[in-house]
């Protein structure tokens, strides 16, 4: 067995080349794919948030209806919690790995992603040639929040503002009346009277760290107390008196009259607590009304609704929508639009109504839904106030004093993703009692101060 030396070397070289080729094949996998393929076939991978309206309706309806209607299109879902969803989408989109050809994003991401050229212009690419979609029917506030330079880059699956839910029976027993447009001072008074430690919390509020979690609720309080994240020169204002007052108010309210363990609670946890009758009041997203109606019928009967509480401003609800967008350059984009337009269409509402009832239809996206007599009848307690809440917000002018940014419960700058979380963690610490509000805001202020105004305004 005598092998000439060079053969072994050659063998080794071949092996290396083969290994490298395999690596290269792996790394380039998925970036191919044609965009001009037939839109009635292909695979659509959708990244979605794990909310009841998605896991309980969108996913089963896709299997039972959409895939029957378009047998050539195979839809795969990847469900995440809000924080993980952002990370997964950000990674897939910015590294152009094309892991998803439909992504669920909101008014924070849409303009930023569109500006970076990461999203398909839905208005020009599809809606213009698809009159049946009727984009003019979308609620103006929602449609504006998903637009960049006048074109839609994502279309809404459901939309929400924030409002106050309260237990009418408990209010009656205590001899209290909730006004339609309450102030935060009134709410604090009610919470103090209704709080029964160990049985019912006076008010349930979000405390879980996350800019879309505790900060969403707190930011609306900050705004109506006259606070703001930055002044017109992009100087952080987290230790300015209105921000401090608002934070003290919120933290004290939840610590004194809130649910125990608030620092770990966000929408899903609070929905369970409220649904089990453990909250006299609950300040959260308007969309919770739909979940209460479908999941907790007993509590639904006792539930009253009021607009988001105010202090110095006239209204103070937030604005959010979970919307579907198509990453620029994704494969099978024609099939992706077929899915996106189906899930956000009027026909989808009909499907949900037929299977789950009209009160379960995803709210807050289309004017026609609120003009539909069947929906008006089924969702009578909350339909009008949801619409009123969404129509009352102005993300372009979110605060009492002028600010250089847009967004009510967030700031539309790339740095907010990290800054918002840092501040949210500090606030969660204050709610848990591991640090004081002033310590928390000092830490937040110094985190915000590490960016220069030029970086924040995007000119640097």
């Amino acid at each position: 067995m005598r092998y000439p030396r060079f053969r072994l070397r050659a063998l080794g070289a071949v092996g290396c080349v083969a290994a490298l080729a395999a690596l290269a094949a792996c790394s380039s996998g998925g970036s191919g794919g044609s965009t001009s393929s037939n839109s009635n076939s292909g695979t659509v991978t959708v990244a979605v948030v794990s909310n009841p309206l998605i896991t309980g309706q969108m996913i089963p309806l896709t299997q039972s209806n959409f895939e029957k209607q378009y047998p050539g299109i195979n839809v795969k879902f990847a469900t995440y919690t809000e924080g993980d969803l952002r990370a997964a989408i950000q990674k897939a989109i910015s590294t152009r790995s094309y892991a998803f050809n439909v992504v669920m994003i909101g008014p924070y991401e849409t303009p930023l992603f569109a500006k970076n050229g990461w999203l398909t212009n839905l208005s020009k690419q599809y809606i213009a040639s698809d009159p049946g979609y009727d984009a003019g029917d979308l609620l103006p506030a929602i449609s504006k929040s998903l637009s960049y330079k006048g074109d839609l880059y994502a279309v809404p699956f459901y939309g929400e503002s924030s409002m106050m839910f309260y237990n009418k029976t408990l209010f009656q027993q205590a001899g209290l009346t909730m006004p339609h447009n309450p102030t935060w001072a009134q709410i604090e008074g009610f919470a103090a009277k209704l709080n029964q430690p160990g049985k019912v919390a006076g008010i349930c509020l979000r405390g879980l760290a996350g800019w879309g979690d505790n900060m969403a609720a707190l930011d609306t309080v900050v705004n109506t107390f006259g606070g703001q994240w930055f002044d017109m020169n992009w100087k952080p204002q987290l230790t300015a008196p209105p921000f401090v007052d608002a934070t003290n108010f919120y933290v004290n309210l939840v610590r004194k009259y809130g649910e125990p363990g608030a620092a770990n609670d966000s929408f899903n946890q609070l929905l369970t607590l409220y649904g089990q009758g453990k909250c006299a009041m609950w300040y959260d997203a308007t969309v919770a009304a739909t979940s209460i109606a479908t999941t907790y019928p007993d509590v639904y009967k006792q539930t009253g609704y009021a607009l988001a509480p105010v202090n110095l401003t006239k209204s103070s609800g937030w604005l959010w929508t979970w919307a579907l967008g198509i990453p620029q350059g994704a494969s099978d984009s024609g099939a992706a639009w077929k899915f996106v337009s189906w899930a956000t269409s009027k026909q989808y509402d009909q499907l949900v109504a037929a299977k789950y009832g009209w009160s379960a239809v995803p709210p807050g996206t289309r004017t026609s839904l609120y003009n539909n007599p069947q929906y008006q009848a089924a969702a009578k307690p909350f339909a009008a106030i949801t619409l009123e809440s969404i129509n009352s917000v102005d993300p372009e002018h979110p605060t009492l004093h002028p600010v250089p940014y847009t967004g009510i419960q967030y700031v539309v700058i790339p740095q907010f993703e990290s800054l918002g979380l840092t501040v949210a963690q500090q606030i969660a610490g204050a709610i848990a009692g591991t640090e004081s509000v002033s310590q928390a805001l000092q830490a937040g202020q110094s985190a915000a101060s590490q960016y220069t105004p030029a970086q924040l305004s995007g000119s640097g």
Binding site: P197, E259, P260, G261, N264, Q425, G429, A432
Partner: protein
């Protein structure tokens, strides 16, 4: 790995093998080559890439391409109080969990070493927590056990005047450590039990004849005999628990505030919430260097344990 080679006793036999020819040596290496190439591809290349990223400014949430920014990521790591906090918390969590689990492990092992009715059933029950998936254990503790409203722990403590304690808010670090202890005590018990069963019966008998009491026997004979087993348990426990992620993610998500953010979770947040790839890479590199330093000492101890055994 160099450590192990350094510590290996020098070959005493003076039989020098015949010097293999170049070709023969290659023939010996060849079958090993695919495994070696594979190992290099899956371990060293990612490390080099990480090293490269740690000198780059690279953020997922900006369209700007990655660019070289010198040592600034490392400067941030060393000046950032969040990193130091996470480091300290990692040490506190690991040390507390390992020590308490070991003390409980010795206690349970001594009890289980006795003969009693149903011993095999009890042993199986004791070991179960270690067999449960860490993330499942964390979820069960976070939900049904420690929930302030519906939790079993609060319900059990109610007769003793404990009302609606929000364990994961007010005692977050303690709760996470509790779960780590709960999961790792069985492992420590097993290791120590093995040690107890290898203790020669005649030594114990001799001690009894000499009139030694139970405590004296335990302190003077059993504990010294168990020392290598305890050291092994502490070492293995530390290696695993310093990397604990499941419990933090599932129970507290590092909070409230940063109360339970340890190094693995801090790194995860740098990637998943701040999208700071360069900074996360630098954190990872610094952590690897620190781990190598600690592991060097640990492996020395490991080697001593076995020398001790042989002697």
């Amino acid at each position: 790995m160099t450590v192990i080679e350094d510590l290996a006793p020098p070959p005493t036999a003076e039989v020098r093998p015949r010097r293999a020819s170049r070709r023969e040596r290659w023939q010996l290496r060849l079958p090993l080559l695919p495994a070696l190439v594979y190992t290099i591809v899956v371990t060293q290349i990612p490390f080099l890439v990480t090293l490269w990223y740690s000198f780059q400014s690279y953020f997922w949430n900006t369209p700007a391409p990655a660019h070289f920014n010198g040592l600034s990521n490392y400067k941030t790591v060393f000046t950032n109080p969040a990193f130091r906090g996470a480091l300290v918390r990692s040490v506190v969590m690991t040390a507390t969990a390992v020590i308490v689990a070991m003390v409980l492990g010795v206690f349970f092992a001594v009890l289980l070493d006795r003969k009693f009715l149903g011993r095999s059933i009890v042993r199986t029950l004791i070991i179960t927590p270690f067999l449960i998936m860490p993330v499942a254990a964390a979820l069960v503790w976070a939900g049904p056990m420690l929930d302030p409203n519906f939790g079993l722990v609060n319900w059990l403590l109610q007769p003793f005047g404990v009302h609606h304690v929000a364990w994961l808010s007010t005692h977050a670090l303690g709760s996470v450590i509790l779960v780590m202890i709960w999961q790792w005590t069985p492992f420590m018990t097993l290791i120590v039990l093995a040690g107890l069963q290898s203790q020669p019966a005649d030594t114990l008998e001799a001690a009894k004849v000499d009139g030694a009491g139970a405590w004296a026997t335990f302190g003077e004979l059993t504990l010294p005999h168990l020392r290598p087993y305890i050291e092994l348990g502490v070492l293995l426990g530390s290696i695993y628990l310093v990397n604990v992620f499941d419990a933090v993610k599932a129970m507290t998500q590092g909070g409230p505030g940063t109360a339970t953010t340890n190094l693995p979770y801090y790194l995860y947040q740098q990637v998943n919430n701040a999208f700071d790839i360069g900074g996360a890479a630098a954190t990872g590199v610094v952590t690897v260097i620190l781990t190598i330093i600690v592991a060097t000492f640990a492996l020395r101890m490991f080697a001593r344990v076995f020398q001790f055994e042989e002697a």
